[in-house]
Amino acid sequence: MTSDQLTNSPRDVIILKPSRGLAALNLRDLWTYRELVLFLSWRDVLVRYKQTVLGAAWAIIQPIVQMVVFTLIFSKAAGLSSEGVPYPIFNYTALLPWGLFSKAMNDAGRSLVNNRNMITKVYFPRLTIPVASVLAGMVDFGIAFLVYIGIILYYNLAPNSTYTYTVTPALLTLPLFIILALVATLGVSLWFSAANVIYRDVGHMLPFLTQIWFFLTPIVYSSSEVSGKWQIIYALNPLTGVVEGFRWSLLGIHSLPLPLLFVSAGVAVVILITGVIYFRNMERTFADEI
């Protein structure tokens, strides 16, 4: 008989009642379901390139094509400066975190609505869905990073190239900036995904919001183009700090604008914390509203 197995330990008791005020964050629940997060992001990655001829090659083609287009428009035509680094490298360094952010924001923003059939039928921590979307974006980030290494090698080995890549100690801080990128991405994703359940307007807003955000972030240009007094307001965009951090850490160009970085990082953390709280509060009505 399995009765021993069935004996309860006190932690198995679940009390279901209307939650009041700010919902308990209950992040431990998310940890219990960590495997589900991995399964969901694995599904997203697996499904993304099914029934395509080029398959996973798309993850390489997309950033390269973007970079080529931006180089032609902003460097060749508009003549924007790239702080002494070949423009494609300058631009692509920023496209790394931006690609992660924009893709995850769009996928995660719609993720709850796309998974409504699961939400209305089974219990699991709803946070797993947007978190999995963001995590799935990390796979593309990894591929894009390999392409990045390829580009650097090309610029160093090509016979008529004048550029030499120099590794600085700043490279060691890269993981911190990746974490900062994830914090900003997750925070924004949580806000949009929860809001989209109740206001479907969010789904319509995301494409052009992404575009506006793109130009408010120093991707095709350098943040030094923004004049001094606007710098701090400019830094309210958490992606500004992320992109500047990536350029500083990977390319070692100019010194890191610390005030700007701290403002960006602070905003990113605030967005994440409020995002989690907002999400957990909306969560209780997801199954009824979706």
Binding site: R43, K121, A287
Partner: protein
């Protein structure tokens, strides 16, 4: 081992239903209602307080209290909209109660649907892992049971084929196989057995009784009374969101079956019984009449039975068909029939104009066996909309006096009692 694993106290769930519940809320709506609300408050305070309870608020559940001891297999029955699904959703943590509380001791596995989260592009193997994880299984657990799941589903050869290429039967079998191998302490099941072919249903029922016999607690919701009788020991009856009866299953099923029928051979609908979605279809009356045209509760199996449904259309409906289901008291279907089953009639009556109608038909003599039957009605446009249905609209009794074989005073098996032309030949 007489401890309680589920304790529900004064549980209630309220839903807001707007004027158009189908529409999504948009930012504009919130802004507009934000502006309107102060004015509405003014209006309310000036007018009488009668409507202040809010006509667009419904309680799907109210004041539900019960407890379930460990190892009990408990049935939940009730008509459509009685709150069964809402109760299961609360207990399986999909949605939160509005008031009251429920205390649950142990891991809950809920089967409100099979195949939740299945992705058509993924293979059977991939979906087993994904679905298992969604249902709360650990990866090691799924790996350990993988072969068993595949064997149970009988889709071995197609396990690496995307499930979008599966037949619906294969899809269901695989989906149920994953769910069936979940090993929660408390299993919550909603009507999943109502799908699939007879063989599949038999298999599901077998698995369900295994679970029950393994000493786990099961909550089982179904319309199928014979399944409830077979699987459960005790049953609660819900009606309009309230718990109205709790007893050993056989008593509860009798109570449920006897409740709500007028017994006069006629069912009339009052306007508050008709949901808003039914419009423009308005059911008025359903009657069974004997061969002399009298509305009666008891009919003879040797005489034709006349069934008529009276209704009103407030607007023309395209492709409308009005029909009946005949069920036994245990909830098993005997037959289904629609007023446009005849293809030439169906061609002619593409649009049914507004007006007052009666659709009537005759069940031929020597069709039904003795016993009590239930008529359900359905008014729908195929694949467009189901305007109205009532799965227990009217019950009537069939008396088999004089029917074939009545010379032997024994009950006959089966819902039908045809007069077959037997020929005995001596060779």
């Amino acid at each position: 081992m007489n401890d309680t694993v589920i304790r529900v106290q004064n549980l209630g769930k309220r839903f807001r239903i707007g004027a158009s519940p189908e529409r999504y809320k948009t930012l504009r709506d919130t802004l507009v209602s934000g502006i309107k609300t102060p004015f509405q408050k003014l209006q309310h305070s000036s007018s009488s307080n009668l409507s202040s309870s809010g006509s667009n608020i419904i309680w799907a559940l109210r004041d539900i209290s019960f407890d379930v001891p460990r190892g009990k297999v408990m049935g939940i029955v009730g008509r459509n909209g009685a709150g069964k699904s809402t109760l299961l959703k609360i207990l399986s943590r999909v949605t939160e109660p509005t008031e009251g509380s429920a205390e649950i001791h142990g891991r809950v596995g809920s089967l409100l649907e099979v195949g939740t989260g299945f992705h058509p592009e993924l293979t059977g193997r991939e979906n087993i892992y994904l679905n298992g994880a969604i249902l709360g299984m650990k990866r090691i657990e799924i790996e350990r049971k993988f072969d068993e799941i595949v064997a149970f589903s009988e889709v071995e050869q197609f396990i690496d084929t995307p499930v979008k290429r599966y037949s619906s039967g294969m899809y269901l079998r695989l989906a149920f196989a994953v769910a069936a191998h979940l090993e929660p302490e408390i299993l919550v099941v909603d009507e999943v057995l109502a799908v699939g072919d007879a063989e599949f249903q038999r298999k599901c029922m077998g698995k369900m009784s295994d679970v029950a016999q393994a000493g786990r607690t099961v909550l089982f919701v179904s319309h199928n009374m014979s399944a409830v009788l077979r699987l459960t020991e005790e049953t609660i009856v819900l009606d309009k969101g309230r718990l109205v009866f709790r007893a050993p299953t056989s008593q509860a099923v009798d109570y449920y079956m006897a409740a709500g029928f007028t017994g006069a051979g006629e069912r009339l609908w009052t306007s508050d019984e008709i949901p808003e979605e039914a419009a423009p279809f308005m059911p008025l009356a359903l009657r069974v009449k004997d061969v002399r045209g009298l509305v009666v509760d008891t009919l003879r199996s040797t005489e034709p039975i006349h069934v008529e449904l009276e209704y009103r259309l407030d607007q023309p409906i395209t492709g409308l068909r009005v029909g009946i289901y005949l069920l036994t008291m245990r909830g098993e279907y005997v037959f289904t029939s629609f007023d446009l089953d005849d293809p030439t009639q169906f061609e002619k009556l593409g649009v049914r104009a507004e007006g007052h109608y009666i659709s009537h038909c005759t069940i031929p003599a020597n069709t039904l066996n003795e016993g009590r039957y239930v008529l359900a009605i359905n008014a729908s446009s195929f694949r467009v909309k189901r305007y109205f249905w009532d799965d227990r609209a009217l019950a009537f009794t069939v008396d088999a006096t004089g029917a074939p074989g009545k010379q032997w005073p024994e009950p006959r098996m089966g819902a039908v009692r045809p007069a077959l032309e037997w020929v005995i030949e001596r060779l």
